[in-house]
Structure formats: structure tokens, C-alpha cells
Amino acid sequence: MADLTSTFIGIKSPNPFWLASAPPTDKEYNVRRAFDAGWGGVVWKTLGEAGPPVVNVNGPRYGAIYGADRRLLGLNNIELITDRPLEVNLEEMTRVKRDYPDHALIASLMVPMNEDAWREILRRVEDTGCDGVELNFGCPHGMSERGMGSAMGQVPDYVGQVAHWCKKHSDLPVIVKLTPNITDIRLPARAAKEGGADAVSLINTINSITSVDLDLFAPEPTIDGKGAHGGYCGPAVKPIALNMVAEIARDPETAGLPISGIGGVTTWRDAAEFMTLGAGNVQVCTAAMTYGFKVVEEMISGLSQWMDEKGMTSTSEIVGRAVPNTVNWQDLNLNYVTKAVIDQDACIQCGRCYAACEDTSHQAISMSETRVFEVIDAECVACNLCVNVCPVEDCITMEQMAAGSVDPRTGKVVEKEYANWTTHPNNPGSCAAE
């Protein structure tokens, strides 16, 4: 079985599956059970300044989006940082780290935008024996109204500044947790790096309203007839998170900056995908909140089986494997021509491909009297929509046309050589060699 031990910015853990800073890591009881269940590390629920802790709403905190059979696809929350006193959290962290020295324990921090506040919290956190700190620049609700969380994370200068303070006042490794509620994720990542951060983690939750109560005419979750936007997470946000991770991994200015991948990690496969796009490890919140701590067992067994199949012996071999293949649109090969092909034996004749292509795409699927569905190569632009809507996996595949054959749609010979938009004759800015 593959060795899953992981070293992330010098922090060792038995596996790359950490619990993200959130309710699962809110207290000693949870974290002990998480470690016992097999989680490699935890980022403790975000700590605030000493003094009276924040208060949470006393009505519902979560809203959800469901797929078939009430499968939870997206979760939205309006929870704040820890609402327990700082001292209590620090004592618990100290005890847990003492009893689980081989597991990673990271302190998540959020204090106002001034150097003293950061120096003070770092001083206190260091005494717990924790392995590092994560700066929560992500929380998009409540805390941001008080000028913290994403309100800081959306200003790259602040991100860099705080990272700098933390490095200056502490020897602990510093991870900057980024908010996705920003147009270009590379800017705060660059700022974090310039400020001296050891790593970034992303994504925190996305501003969202999951639904509206159509009787109350108020957003859900509804508190006394009103709702506030919350932060979105769970499987639904994974595509957004993957892209943001990849953006940072392939940005020349941040290339090589360690990344902790977060956002919708639900299975070993999700974790592997994040890692191939540059994440050194992953953090999980919603999957644990949906299914309990036990899900990590599947993540562990799945990842190690896949690594065995790929002949990989260390998780570090996964990291960044897909980054070189993540390119800009203009670098895609326009001479790569495919056609949809329907496997008639697998087809169950639902006609969804037909409806999709006929109504909304390129009228490239024919339907016979006897419900035989066939692709018309002369019309198929290879958009992949039929593949996406077909309920039978692998029933429709995209098959590459051999170089030298003629694409019946364009009447052109399929070229063997790679050619992209930058040199395409239709591109006004093309610099094709004559």
C-alpha cells in the first residue's frame, strides 16, 4: 500500500487529509475523535482576540442545495469564528497536541488589521505547541462586516502586510487562507508570498444565498423573517476551487508556493485532483459535516489504491502533475478534431442526447422511427454536450479523427501538426509565418 504520509511546509502528518477550520475542529472533543478516526491534521476553528467571544445567531445557520435523493451538494453557512473563549481553545489545543504529537495541528487566526493584535495572538498560540498558523482572510459574512475575514482578504496589500507581521513575530509556518470572493485570485496569493507566507490555502467559502423561502419571501436560512448572505461550500464549489488552485500553481510569480487545497473535497478522487493541480495536501469540511469523520477511511483507501495503480510511492509525486497540462485557451490545439460516437449496445434510447443537440446545439444527432440515435458527423462540432447529458456512462465518447482524414463538417483534411489560435488566419492578431 502506498505511503500516504505527508509533509507540508515542513509539517508532518500521517496522511494529506486535514480537516478545515470549521465546526468539525471547534473543540477538543471533536478533534480527538477526528484524529482517532484517521484524519491526518486539523486546522482548529478560527480563534479571535482575547476577551468576550463573538456570538452566533440562535436561529438556523445553514442552508443547502440538494441533488437526487437529498444528496447534499452545496452548503451555505452564516457561522462566525469560534464563539468560545480564547483561553479555553488554547488549553484544549495544548492538550490535544500533547496527546497527538504525530498529527498536524494548525491554529487558524483572525484579528483586526493592526500589528499589535497579531503579535499578541501569535504569542499566545505559540504556547500550545501547534505546528503552524493559518490566517483566515476568507470568512465572507459577519466578520467581514467588522473589517476582518474576506474584508481583509480582498485587499492584497493587507494580506501581504499581515503575512509579514506574522513572520516577523513568530517562527511558526504561516499559511494564508484566501477568499474566493475576488476577481483575480492570483493577486492576494502573490501578496501573501511577497509578505513571506510559507503557503496559501484555498478556498474559503463563496458569498451565497442558497435559496429563498417563497412563503416568507426571505433568503434561507431565515432568522425571524430575514436572511443574510452566507458562505458556500461543499461539492458544488469544487470546480471553482480547482480553478483557483490551478491559477496560483501556474502563475510564474507564485509557482512553487505550497498550496493547501480546500473546497468540496468529498472523496479520494477530489483530493487527488486538487493535488495534481498543485495542492500539497487538502482540507475538508462539508464532507465531514455531511457524513461524519468516517469518510476519511474511504479517502485513505482510495488514494492509496490509485497511487499503487499509478506506481506512485509518495504523495509528493502527485503534486502538480496536471499543472503543465493546464493552459490558456489560446494554447489549445485546433487541429485536434473529434466526433461524438454513440455505443449502440450501451444506449438505452432515452433521447436526451437528441433533445440536447437538436434543440440547443448543432442538430448533429438523428433519431429514427425505432429510436436509434446516431451522430451526423457532417454536423457534429464535438462540443461534448451529448456526452454530458447522456445518463449512461461511456455510452457516448469523443473519438479523435486520424490525421489525414477529412472532417465531413468542414471538408478539410485533419492536420497532424499542432496549431493554435495564435497563428490561426482568422485571428486578427495572428503572427503566422508566411
Binding site: A68, D69, R70, I348, Q349, C350, G351, R352, Y354, A355, M367, R371, P391, V392
Partner: protein, 442 residues
């Protein structure tokens, strides 16, 4: 000792009250909200869906299932009922395994169809339980139409005509409307007096005058209907039953299965119904299976269904056959009754094995029988009727008979299989044709 399954003879009260209640409870109780959502989520919303084509009333199945999935079962019910006003009964009695669910792409792909019938029931029950009748009657046309037979065909026809503003008089020979919904369908398929509730709900459209205990050919003549009304629709089903044609057919203990079932359906306490210890049912259709199963449910010890041809030729669907087997009914095929043996009352029946072409093989066997149910087919009755095609009323498209101004549909009309849903479709289509004929509308 109290009577039980082993007591000889035809007696009531073989079972405990709990067993009776359990045996005659709903075969497929209505799905609860969550079950309905899970079932609805399985539908692929197929393009030009094969299930629609397979439904004799062309219900837009993917649409109504999507309406359930999005939390609007009432809208789903409207979708169903606009095509099939007896969508509630059909949801309970349709052999879906040979109709919509047989061709559902998920049945074809995985052997597990979308539960169309049960979803249909979920939707229609939701609307009907709310007491909502979703259709309104058009302005009166002043046209009067006689509908004879208040079974599925007649009710469907009457409703559609009334909806278009015609005045309908609905005659039925029986005391209660509903036809075989009330007197024939197996009790565990339509519990809690659903047949009567559905008729009452259907009649809310208005414009339909129900005249029970009025038999065509006895109390009213076809001629009087022709002269007194602008059009006539015949939905009289098949009132007669076929005989075995054997000596001893009149011995005690021999009954027509339809009478047994009708009696069962009209009894308020099934514990009072006498049933034999050794019951033999002769026939291979839905009636035979229903009689056999219900005999078993009443506590008969041995119930044997004997059919003259092979299993594949049985009119009862595989689901029905399996249901019978699961209740402990023994099915013997390729055997024809040859003699009724007994002295005043039946004691045994002798059968001869036949090959697939019904040719005798010379091999005989006897089954002990204190009660025998004949279920070898029903026949048309009703006095002078339009021209026949075989044993049923000949019809062209949309139920037109040989006599202008008279339409027919349901079991009494030729063509089509003898199913509730087919009767509903034929009644509806005849109504549309009558409407078009009388008003010139198309």
C-alpha cells in the same frame, strides 16, 4: 375448535380478523413524500418518451414526474387527468409492467423501471384528497347525449362530453356506478371505497345525470335513446359469462368468478364470505388470477388455477402470475376440464393435458374441489346492438359503430385489450368525436 384452513366445505371465517385485514389491505400503499421524490428523481425526462407511447391514454409521463420532483404534485395530477380522467384508478390497476413501465428506458437498461404507476397515484391522490376537481365545464351547447354503462369507458366519455358543455345522461344497469372498478377489480388494488369516491369526484364536473338500475334492452331501448338524444355512446362492457359446456356445470359449488368477485367487492366484512377448502379456478386471465388470489386470501387451503394453454399465452401478466404464486396459488397450464365429478355438489374435477394447439394428449388427472370458479371469458349482452365484429361491437376510428349517431368503446367494442385504461382512452376519444360531429368543431 374454531374453523380454519383445514375445515372441509365452503365456510366463512377461516382466518383471524387480523389476517383478513392484512390480506385485504392496499397492495401498493401510496408513496410518502420522500419516496415519491426519490422515485421521481430516477426519471430521465426522455425525449419523445417511450413510456408516453406505451400509455393507452398518452399521459405526458416525464412532465408529470418532473412536476412531482419539483414539489408540485397537484400540477402533476392535472397533467395526468387532462389525458385520463380516471388516472387515479389506472394508477392502481394498470398492468404497468406490460404498459409504460415495460418500455421505460430504465427497465430496459437495468430491469428497474421508474415507478410510473405509483407516482401517478401519489399525484392524483394528492389532488383528489384535497377535494379539487381541476376542470370546468364549457358553456352549454344544448346537445344531449346518452351514455350507457357507467364503467371506465362510459364515465370517461361522459366527463369529456360534459366538459365540452354537453348534457349527459348516464345509464347503468347496476345499483352503483363504476362498472368493473366497483364490481370487478381485485379488492386489494382499490381499497377504501376508491371506486365510488372517484366517481363522485368525477361527477363534480356537472352536467351529468346518473340513472342507475336502468338496463338497456329492458328499461330503455336503443331506439328511444336514438330518438331522445343527439348521440349515444355504448360502454356496456361484457355482461355475460362463458360456460364450461360440461355435464355437471350446474352442480353446487360451481360459480362464475366474476360473481364471486363482485360479491367480495360488495361485502363490508370479508370474514362473512364462505370459501372452499379446495378451490379450483379455471381460466388464465386477470379474472382467473384475481379469483384465485382472493380465494387464497379468504383462507382457502388449496387454490389451483388451471389454464388450457401455456404460461406465455396467459392474459394475466407475469406480475399477476407472480403475485398469485407468491400468495400460494398453484398454476397448472396446458390442461382442459373434462368432467365435473360429484353428487349434487362438486367433489372433484377431471382435467386432460393438452398440447400447445389444444390437442388432447389422453393423460388425465383429478383435482379435489369443493368450490370451482369459472373464469373462461365474458361475453356481450344488451339486446339489439349495432353490428358485431366477432363477439363485440364493430367500431371504426374513434368508436363509430355501424349505426350513425351511436358510438361504442371499452370492453364491449372490438379491438383493444380489455383494460381499464383502454376503456378510458376509448371513451375519451369517442367523446371528442361526438363533440366534433355535433358542433362541427375539430
Amino acid at each position: 375448535m374454531k374453523d380454519n384452513a383445514y375445515t372441509a366445505g365452503i365456510i366463512p371465517g377461516r382466518l383471524s380478523p387480523e389476517d383478513y385485514a392484512e390480506n385485504f389491505s392496499d397492495l401498493h400503499p401510496r408513496l410518502d413524500d420522500h419516496e415519491a421524490l426519490v422515485a421521481a428523481d430516477r426519471c430521465y425526462f426522455c425525449h419523445d418518451a417511450p413510456c408516453i407511447t406505451a400509455c393507452p391514454t398518452d399521459i405526458d409521463i416525464p412532465l408529470f414526474i418532473r412536476q412531482i420532483a419539483t414539489g408540485t404534485p397537484e400540477a402533476a395530477a392535472r397533467t395526468i387527468l387532462s389525458q385520463n380522467i380516471m388516472g387515479g384508478m389506472c394508477a392502481r390497476v394498470c398492468p404497468t409492467e406490460t404498459l409504460c413501465e415495460e418500455v421505460c428506458v430504465r427497465e430496459v437498461a437495468e430491469g428497474k423501471p421508474v415507478l410510473i404507476g405509483q407516482l401517478q397515484r401519489y399525484a392524483t391522490d394528492t389532488l383528489m384528497d384535497a377535494g379539487v376537481h381541476p376542470f370546468t365545464r364549457a358553456a352549454s351547447t344544448g346537445k344531449r347525449i346518452a351514455v350507457v354503462g357507467a364503467g371506465p369507458a362510459g364515465l370517461s366519455c361522459a366527463h369529456r362530453l360534459a366538459m365540452h358543455g354537453h348534457d349527459v345522461t348516464l345509464f347503468d344497469a347496476r345499483a352503483k356506478p363504476g362498472g368493473l372498478n366497483e364490481y370487478g377489480i381485485a379488492s386489494y388494488k382499490t381499497v377504501d371505497d376508491f371506486a365510488q369516491r372517484e366517481v363522485e369526484w368525477l361527477l363534480q364536473i356537472g352536467g351529468i345525470t346518473l340513472e342507475t338500475d336502468k338496463t338497456l334492452g329492458l328499461d330503455v331501448s336503443l331506439e328511444s335513446l336514438q330518438s331522445g338524444f343527439d348521440a349515444v355512446f355504448l360502454g356496456i362492457g361484457l355482461g355475460g359469462v362463458n360456460a364450461l359446456g360440461l355435464d355437471g356445470d350446474d352442480m353446487d359449488g360451481l360459480h362464475d368468478a366474476v360473481d364471486f368477485i363482485a360479491n367480495l367487492r360488495q361485502t363490508s366484512d370479508v370474514a362473512t364470505l364462505p370459501i372452499g377448502r379446495d378451490v379450483v379456478v379455471i381460466g388464465g386471465g386477470m379474472t382467473a388470477v384475481d379469483a384465485a388470489v382472493q380465494a387464497k386470501l379468504l383462507g382457502a387451503l388449496n387454490v389451483t388455477l388451471v389454464y388450457r394453454r401455456g404460461r406465455d399465452r396467459m392474459n394475466a401478466s407475469v406480475f399477476e402470475q407472480d403475485l398469485a404464486a407468491s400468495k400460494g396459488v398453484r398454476i397448472i397450464t396446458n390442461a382442459t376440464p373434462r368432467a365435473v365429478i360429484g353428487n349434487g355438489a362438486v367433489r372433484e374435477i377431471e382435467f386432460e393435458y393438452t398440447d400447445d394447439d389444444l390437442a388432447p394428449t389422453g393423460q388425465t388427472f383429478r383435482l379435489a374441489a369443493d368450490q370451482v370458479f369459472r373464469a373462461i371469458g365474458q361475453s356481450l349482452t344488451g339486446g339489439s346492438l349495432p353490428a358485431l365484429d366477432g363477439r363485440k361491437i364493430a367500431v371504426s376510428s374513434a368508436g363509430r359503430t355501424s349505426i350513425s349517431g351511436i358510438w361504442a368503446g371499452g370492453d364491449c367494442a372490438a379491438g383493444g385489450d380489455d383494460l381499464t385504461v383502454t376503456a378510458v382512452a376509448e371513451g375519451r376519444d369517442a367523446a371528442m368525436d361526438i363533440h366534433a360531429t355535433l358542433t362541427g368543431a375539430t
